[in-house]
Amino acid sequence: MDMASLSSTLLFIAFVAYLIATFLFGGAVKSSNTQTTKSFDRWGKLAITVTILGFIANIGYFITRWIAAGHAPVSNLFEFTTAFGMMVVGAFILIYFIYKTPALGLFALPIAVLIIAYASMFPTEITPLIPALKSYWLTIHVITAAMGEAILAISAVAGFIYLLKNIDLTKKSKERFWIEAVMYVLVLVVGFVVSTLSFSLADYSAEYSYISKDETEHNIEYTMPALFGMNESVAITEGALDPLIEMPPLVNAKKLTTVVWSILIGSVIYLLLRLILRKRLATVLQPLTKKSNSQLMDEIGYRSVLIGFPVFTLGALIFAMIWAHEAWSRFWGWDPKEVWALITFLFYAVFLHLRLSKGWEGKKSAWIALIGFIIIMFNLIAVNLILAGLHSYA
């Protein structure tokens, strides 16, 4: 087997291991009353062992792909997002060995699984490096930044558990609404994966020509039925669906189509779940958090920001500036990706100050941690896909 396919196999193994470990952590959570029962020990040990085995396979994927590509596998959206998912698991393992909380695994691993699944929807082939990326700073900057973001993400997981446990879901409230909104968004990501996979399994493809904003003609291939058409689009593939709505040249209607399909299918899944379970998703998950200690979750949320913030600053700002100075002649250029890294930095700085000086602990702190994760994901997804800039490599 050559390196590239070995690498894909290892990633798949890691993916499956994380799924299994999620259920094992579920078992550990259910059986842990005080943290010392034998049953907890058994489930917990098994769960963390499977997680670590998965993580080793994941590292194996990373190394073999590195060898196959000849450069650190962090050079396009698939590679970066996968590495991010891997590091979320790494960060979880680190925090688990400090705090020994199975509930964290129960929620952190599905997030990592979702991130890796999301990553795999992008072109996964190994790409050669464009001149701007040919630098050892690619390895240093991107890996450190992803590590920082992954540790910060654990804070959001802890915050999410804290909120699930402490929000009264029996009464109508803003908190109840928003925690359910978080659940809904997570289901939308599932919707994205499901819709991409189904259309790709059905081998859907339709080509259109269109007029771009600089008034030249281009071709574009849709992999999902075109809900939205590009500016003045004309079908090339015979029998291709006429787009329902045509968009102005500024909007990338193909991406919009993907987004809308994800929302549609995600919403259907969400509604089905609600119909089957007859409960809010948050209410379904809440019992799993009952046995976790709020104070501990609050501390984990804070601690992971404390650990992650310096790493993030070093990777996403300082190393980034050094490299930007070598590659683009200036250490700072207000490129959208740079700006959003700065926004993330400022946001977590606010988190730390509010916590230290204003005593924002518990729910407030947990909500901010969740918003922080949204900003990180925005920088990962939207800035590359929507806002044009120097970092649009995908």
């Binding site: 001149p131 904003k213 500024l250 250029g333 700006v339």
Partner: protein, 552 residues
């Protein structure tokens, strides 16, 4: 304002909440609290004490964390708004009219609004820079307001603290456990083993470790201040150079702002990945994407001119070095770096023509025009010659009979030419364009026939000098040290006291990471048989304990 004298005899500055020495609460508000606020050790901060003069008010405004946070949030929101559309410096237009037109053409009404509100150049707007300036002031004042009293307070703290201080700590326990001198010694020993700095005063123990982490926030703020100061320095002349130059193959040009350096472009190289030469694993990507750039490179020679050398005078140059400028690999000399940023392939360099008889196409000689330096006269054999009366590098057509050139770049060269021959000593006029000739003054007998062109590549280079970099690096380094210091270490204190009534008190405080200090305390109480403690803030555990007591 008056100083506050504590019962223990210590004289505290006005505004102190907890006696610097023994820790007694000094005002009613503090006395009412179940857990005391330990953030600044209850020390007297200027901002909390004085509020009379304008200076007091300005000081108090900027020392407030709340104000600081609002400034950060404002910067954060503004920064985000600036990413909605590309900023002016990423827009392919140079003058105001073109820029405005660009925003309107590409982004419609919203673009126009964005441009007119100044959001398209948001980061250099006075109000954005004002916000950053305010953040700088806030960093200085908020730090000074806290670090000085905190330092004094931690320096003055006594080993023996008053019970009213200890019982208001988050981790606190009291009991009639059988504690003797021996167990105090054991505790002392264990604490030392746990790398605590232990002090003993009578029946009181103060164990402390990691105090230096309390300075972390102030160290990182200092780093940020240095960084911001470095950024401001760029505005001073001489610190910062940002120039661009277009260098053609074979050309030697003065490097702007460098005081006497010249660069010669030997060759520009543009390479893409080909399936044959690249690694096999890249094949799929190359198939999907098509062309993937591999290398942009300008091979240059660097020269230094004599004292006072200026642009355009390339004589008496001394060779310094040769280098290949690639993306990520600038050439560096004398505080300057020159970066490979852009390129144009195959710009016309020379054009070769023949002077011919229109009918017979007999040639009377050939001449080559260097488009960067067209000569006025080209002498041919046997009394034939050609005069270039005018040159239009980027010809766009005639306006009221006058030829127009839209730029000095040889994108579409055209010449107004006079052809001299023995038959026409006064010359025949011809307007020569690519693929076409116009005879403005009537039918000619001769013509200029196009033979061949030579092209060359042009490198777009950025010339940079930034003397503020060492300062920025220093600021960044200090910031990282401060952040690590504050985040990866913590200040833990454990107090153990044998009271006069025979009870034993233990209390602990940490600025973060309560789990660790509790673990330390567990280890100490195990060996020394000290009373149990409670985390007075851990409601879940408190409830669980209540449950157990009630037998649930």
């Amino acid at each position: 304002m008056d100083k506050i004298v504590c019962t223990c005899g210590n004289v505290n500055p006005a505004g102190t909440e907890l006696c610097e020495s023994c820790g007694r609460p000094l005002n009613d508000e503090t006395k009412e609290k179940k857990i005391v606020d330990m953030r600044y050790e209850g020390s007297a901060r200027r901002s909390q004490t004085y509020n009379k003069t304008i200076i007091d008010k300005v000081w108090n405004f900027f020392s407030s964390v709340k104000v600081g946070m609002w400034i950060i949030v404002a910067i954060l929101v503004a920064a985000a708004i600036g990413t909605i559309l590309p900023q002016v410096f990423y827009v392919p237009a140079t003058n105001e009219t073109d820029i405005a037109a660009y925003y309107e053409r590409i982004y419609g009404t919203f673009g126009t609004l964005y441009y007119q509100l100044g959001l398209s150049d948001l980061y250099s707007s006075w109000w954005f820079q004002g916000l950053v300036g305010m953040l700088g002031i806030s960093l200085v004042i908020a730090s000074l307001d806290r670090v000085i009293p905190l330092y004094k307070s931690l320096k003055k703290q006594k080993t023996k603290r008053h019970i009213s201080f200890l019982k208001r700590q988050r981790v606190y326990g009291i009991g009639k456990a059988d504690v003797s001198e021996e167990s105090l010694l054991k505790a002392e020993e264990k604490l030392k083993e746990l790398k605590y700095n232990v002090k003993r005063e009578g029946n009181a123990i103060l164990a402390e470790r990691g105090r230096f982490s309390r300075w972390g926030p102030y160290v990182n703020h200092l780093g940020l201040i240095i960084f911001l100061f470095g950024v401001m320095l760029r505005a001073l002349p001489g610190f910062y150079v940002d120039e661009t130059m277009w260098l053609r193959e074979g050309e030697t040009l003065y490097v702007p702002e460098t005081h006497g350096y010249f660069l010669e472009s030997k060759e520009f190289i543009y390479e893409t990945y080909s399936k044959e030469e690249s690694k096999e694993v890249y094949g799929e990507a190359i198939d999907r994407v098509g062309t993937i750039a591999k290398n942009y490179q300008t091979d240059v020679a660097l020269y230094k001119g004599p004292e006072g050398a200026v642009a355009g005078h390339t004589e008496d140059l001394t060779f310094e070095k040769e280098a290949s400028i690639q993306v990520n690999k600038p050439i560096k000399f004398d505080n300057f770096s020159v970066f490979q940023m852009d390129f144009r392939l195959d710009e016309l360099a020379t054009m070769t023509f023949q002077l011919q008889d229109k009918q017979t196409q007999q040639s009377f000689g050939e001449f080559t025009i260097d488009l960067a330096d067209p000569q006025p006269i080209y002498e041919l054999n046997d009394g034939y010659k050609v005069e270039v009366m005018d040159y239009y590098a980027d010809f766009t057509g005639f306006e009221e009979g006058v030829p127009q050139s839209q730029s000095p770049l040889p994108n579409n060269p055209a010449f107004l030419i006079k052809m001299y021959s023995p038959e026409f000593p006064k010359g025949e006029t011809s307007f020569v364009m690519i693929k076409e000739t116009v005879e403005p003054l009537g039918e000619n007998q001769h013509k200029i026939a196009f033979q061949s062109v030579e092209t060359r590549d042009v490198s777009g280079l950025t010339v940079r000098k930034d003397l503020t970099l060492p300062l920025l690096a220093l600021g960044g380094l200090i910031f990282m040290i401060g952040v690590a210091q504050g985040a990866y270490w913590n200040h833990r204190r454990i107090w153990i006291q044998l009271l006069e009534d025979g009870q034993t008190v233990i209390a602990a405080h940490t600025n973060k990471n309560w789990l660790s200090v509790k673990r330390d305390l567990d280890k100490v109480t195990d060996v020394a048989h000290l009373p149990k403690y409670l985390d007075q803030q851990d409601i879940d555990s408190l409830e669980e304990k209540v449950d157990k007591v009630e037998g649930v």
